[in-house]
């Protein structure tokens, strides 16, 4: 027992208030309209929807993927890849483009990795909150009477303000803003990119360390440590995606993103990674064969083209992304 509980309660109250206030002011998801640093909110889904809303009415191709696909800049249609974009994002965006916006989509490129098919990677809160996209998410059946037992609305706000994920995102936003101000608009940083940036200041070094192979390995190991198998709901989304594309005569080009050999070999020493990857490729091959998808495989040992570079182990360098861009465009020409 504590000798003086006042210290405990004062510290606890102060800490929680500070953290909630910090998250409220930074507002990384743009939920409260504060955003004092005046930086773009992390919610890339809204940006994608804006792009889609203002796209050419004759838009015929879309590219779905995660941050690994953001550098495919020469894609002839619209690249709708998202940071940590998972299959439920792709399915919802495809439905939005076809059902709501009535684009005559003829082909899509689906860049899919098993890392985003495991349950330890949660469904993004911003997808669940997005009213244009969440209509196509699978709703768990709730008994009629059970719907009476719903928490009051302010609980969602508290959960957002006092959450470790929000805190991480707020810190990222703060660091980004500080970095921008300290570099005082120095373009050289942006040209080189975060990886390999010749920054001498502390924030640059933090960014560099965060994007090293070691950091990626730590991040992926953590993800796979608590992942025992593929997420069943995500397997359903994959089926729904394939079924919807098939019903609407949309051709699918499946891309297996690669990684550096060093990264791959390190990860393969983790039994969960090995098992989940093998489960994923068995599953995806069945889907591919059933729906007649074409395939581009750039995983180590599978890719036969020019050598590819992955500065942080998983993300392609710009020249390497251009090589895959060409490959995808070639694939699209064959499809049409």
């Amino acid at each position: 027992m504590l000798r003086d509980s006042r210290i405990y309660y004062t510290c606890l109250g102060a800490l929680l208030s500070f953290l909630a206030f910090f998250n409220y002011l930074i507002d990384p998801y743009g939920s409260f309209g504060t955003d004092i640093l005046n930086v773009n909110p992390v919610d890339s889904r809204s940006e994608i929807l804006n792009k889609l809303d203002s796209a050419d009415p004759q838009l015929q191709t879309l590219l779905f993927g995660s941050s690994r696909s953001l550098l495919f800049k020469h894609f002839p249609g619209l690249n709708v890849a998202l940071y940590a974009g998972a299959i439920e994002d792709h399915y919802s965006i495809l439905r939005y483009a076809v059902d709501d916006l009535q684009y005559p989509i003829k082909a899509v490129v689906l860049v899919l990795e098993p890392d985003l098919m495991v349950s330890s990677h949660p469904v993004e809160k911003m997808l669940v909150k997005n009213s244009k996209l969440n209509r196509w998410l699978i709703k768990e059946p709730i008994l009629y009477g059970q719907s009476l037992f719903a928490p009051p609305g302010y609980i969602d706000d508290i959960a957002m303000l006092l959450s470790v994920t929000t805190l991480k995102n707020s810190t990222k936003v703060l660091l980004k803003a500080l970095k921008k101000r300290m570099s005082n608009g120095d373009k050289s940083d942006q040209d080189i990119g975060v990886v390999g940036a010749k920054n001498n200041h502390v924030l640059g070094r933090i960014a560099e360390a965060r994007d090293s192979i070691d950091a990626r390995l730590r991040q992926y190991r953590k993800l796979y440590m608590s992942a025992l198998a593929l997420d069943k709901t995500r397997i359903k989304y994959l089926d729904m995606f394939a079924e919807f594309a098939s019903e609407n005569n949309i051709k699918v080009i499946l891309v297996h993103p690669g990684s550096s050999k060093v990264f791959w070999d390190e990860m393969m020493s983790l039994s969960n990674f090995k098992n989940i990857n093998s489960e994923f490729y068995d599953l995806i091959q069945k889907v591919r064969v059933r729906y007649g998808w074409t395939e581009i495989d750039i995983r180590p040992g599978k890719w036969k083209g020019l050598p590819l570079e992955y500065p942080d182990g998983v993300h392609l360098s710009k020249p390497s992304a251009a090589i895959i861009d060409n490959e995808i465009n070639e694939g699209l020409r064959n499809v049409f």
Binding site: R3, S5, L162, S271, N272
Partner: protein, 463 residues
């Protein structure tokens, strides 16, 4: 609803507590408030199972009335037996039927087998069923044995069975321990301990979220059947599990007791640093105390206890622990775990006193911990085959460099045992802790709140 959720911490509990202290100040109004809040708490998970809770309450309350009103001892015994059978019936249907019924599926044709298997797998285990069933039974059995007084009010009895702080995972409280407290609930002067209660609640939350869930995240992949493990990884995983289970369950108990304190109700301790015990009997005086004393008083002693010679005592120990295993779950692994603990108790009892005396304490603690870890291996694995696969790995027979364990586990395990040892020191010799501890605790509490969104259920909810 779970204690480790935003809705409980920021809505349910503050609203309840405010009403409890400020608005409802008479005995009857507090009974009503506590009953309705407990129903809401349970219904938040699945309102359909409120009917089951009501069934257990009605059966035992009615049986209590009969037992109290009857003169004839034989008829009283018949009422008691009927009430025990009727109370255990839902437990059999929801907990054991899916397991035992599974063996019967081989008798069916393939199509009917699919339908039968899907019927069995559709049975949901109601949360806390074993806990509230046993809690209700302590009243009926206690009344039959003249250990407690008759409860004339069904509202009071319903409050006793369904009290939300310990509804899901105990501690299992006997009626005689709560009778007076519930009767005098209208006057809680000098009983409500908000400061101590909230502090204990947060200690439980820290144990659950920061220690147990984190360890669980690291060790769960290791317990996959078929994983290639080295002896070191297997031992680390089972040590991690023993700490995860302790911090998860004792965390829940701390939260329950803390909530009780805030309400002015004293709930019994459920844990006293069990891994510092030096023998199996001592371990069971420190682990899940409310269940072990229940088993002692309602099974071991009625079977004859330890007064009828060694052979009968060993038999009673094995039967009692076998049933403890069955209580925990419908799987052979739990039965093996129960029998293992029964054997541990028998071996300890059979060991001559001079050997016990000569053994250094540190060695006894080490030996006990190794035996307990073997037991937890049964408890955690998914089947007996998986358990033996794991034992092979622990003995180094399945050596492989295949599966690695996350490096933080190397820190978490010593840290867990250190905290455990610290708890033992505090429970043996209570001390008032200074400001540095208060600041540390506040930091850890804030961290636990930030991690709430993961909503990991308590391990003992499945029992």
């Amino acid at each position: 609803m779970f204690f480790n959720s935003y809705v409980f911490i920021f809505f349910f509990f503050p609203v309840f507590l405010l009403s409890w202290i400020a608005l409802f100040r008479t005995r009857n109004s507090r009974w009503t408030l506590l009953l309705l809040s407990s129903c809401l708490f349970y219904a938040w998970w699945d309102f359909r199972f409120l009917a089951l809770l009501a069934y257990i309450i009605v059966i035992n309350f009615t049986a209590g009335n009969y037992i109290y009103g009857l003169e004839n001892q034989k008829t009283k015994k018949q009422v008691l037996i009927i009430s025990i059978i009727l109370s255990l019936l839902p437990l059999v249907v929801f907990k054991y039927l899916p397991w035992l019924g599974g063996y019967a599926s081989v008798l069916l044709e393939s199509e009917s087998r699919v339908a039968y298997d899907s019927l069995l797998s559709s049975i949901i285990l109601p949360l806390g069923i074993s806990f509230f069933t046993f809690q209700a039974l302590t009243y009926t059995i206690g009344l039959y044995n003249n250990k407690c007084s008759h409860c004339a009010s069904i509202v009071k009895f319903s409050v006793y069975v369904s009290m939300f702080p310990q509804l899901m995972s105990g501690p299992i409280v006997r009626y005689q321990d709560l009778d007076d407290q519930l009767e005098n609930i209208g006057d809680l002067r000098n009983k409500i301990d908000l400061k101590g209660g909230v502090e204990l609640f947060f200690i439980g939350l820290i144990k659950k979220i920061i220690i147990a869930d984190r360890i669980g995240m690291y060790i769960n992949p290791i317990f996959q059947p078929g994983a290639d493990l080295s002896a070191t990884v297997a031992w680390l995983a089972v040590m991690g599990y023993s700490l995860q289970l302790y911090f998860d369950f004792s965390g829940y108990s701390d939260m329950a007791i803390g909530i009780g304190r805030c309400m002015g109700i004293k709930l019994p301790d459920n844990f006293r640093a069990p891994y510092t015990a030096s023998n199996p009997s001592d371990f069971w005086r420190r682990w899940h105390i409310s269940l072990s004393t229940w088993l002692r008083d309602y099974l071991f002693i009625p079977l004859g206890g330890s007064w009828k010679g060694n052979v009968i005592t060993y038999r009673n120990l094995i039967i009692t622990m076998f049933l403890a295993g069955v209580w925990h779950g419908a799987n052979w692994t739990f039965i093996c775990w129960g029998i293992w603990h029964g054997l541990m108790l028998c071996v300890y009892r059979a060991t001559p006193a001079h050997i016990k005396k000569r053994m250094p304490v540190w060695f006894s603690v080490l030996l006990l911990n190794i035996a307990v870890l073997i037991g937890w291996t049964f408890f955690r694995t998914t089947s007996v085959e998986h358990a033996f696969e794991f034992f092979n790995a622990m003995l180094g027979f399945r050596y492989s460099a295949g599966a690695a364990i996350a490096w933080p586990i190397y820190f978490m395990i010593p840290l867990g045992y250190m905290i455990h040892y610290f708890e033992r020191r505090i429970s043996d010799k209570p001390v008032k802790l200074g400001w540095s501890y208060a600041v540390l605790l506040a930091g850890a509490s804030a961290w636990a709140i930030l991690e709430l969104g993961k909503d990991a259920p308590f391990i003992y909810f499945q029992f």
